[in-house]
Symmetry: C2
Subunit: 118 residues, 2 copies
Amino acid sequence: MRIPILKLHDCLLVSIQWELDDQTALQFQEDLLNKIHETNAKGVVIDITSIDFIDSFIAKVLGDVINMSTLMGAKVVITGIQPAVAITLIELGIGLEDVLTALDLEKGLEKLQQELGD
Amino acid sequence: MRIPILKLHDCLLVSIQWELDDQTALQFQEDLLNKIHETNAKGVVIDITSIDFIDSFIAKVLGDVINMSTLMGAKVVITGIQPAVAITLIELGIGLEDVLTALDLEKGLEKLQQELGD
């Protein structure tokens, strides 16, 4: 299984709607970085509204992919972080300090466009 | 595997990026109709840019899901139909007469918003 990555203008949209297994998470990481490279995307919105639990491996992959995307020059917005996911991320020390967050995909995209407009 | 369906304002976005097997196609049909019902979406954009071949079963499911969505009151735009896919659809008599089409996701979304604005 691979997670589709949608291109909308200069942003990429990803919605993770089912729990990821390790293989899918790693595949997603690779696919997203390739897609950023291919499309010259300036921003990425990752919506994880439907994820209400993540394990430490997935949390690490998510933290990594955000840092890697930032390194490649794309701004990342994570939307829909659920309470349990926030707890896991903080407990694991994945603070996502430089990452924008928003409530849902629409608000995430708005926030990203504001940022990119600056 | 299930295909994620993204909600953006009053539209749903779907990008099918890998060949569907029969089970996934039927699951997608069910998921999309449920999502239209849940979100009261007025429009759906289905991007099939990455699909360069469809068999008769998938073509039928695609034709059906478009008709079903229309029946539920959502306008459907199909984007990125490849030559081989267009050939298959027409040869199977799935003419998609009432369906809007566009080149890519951005243009599809624009077209949909124009239509919904009327």
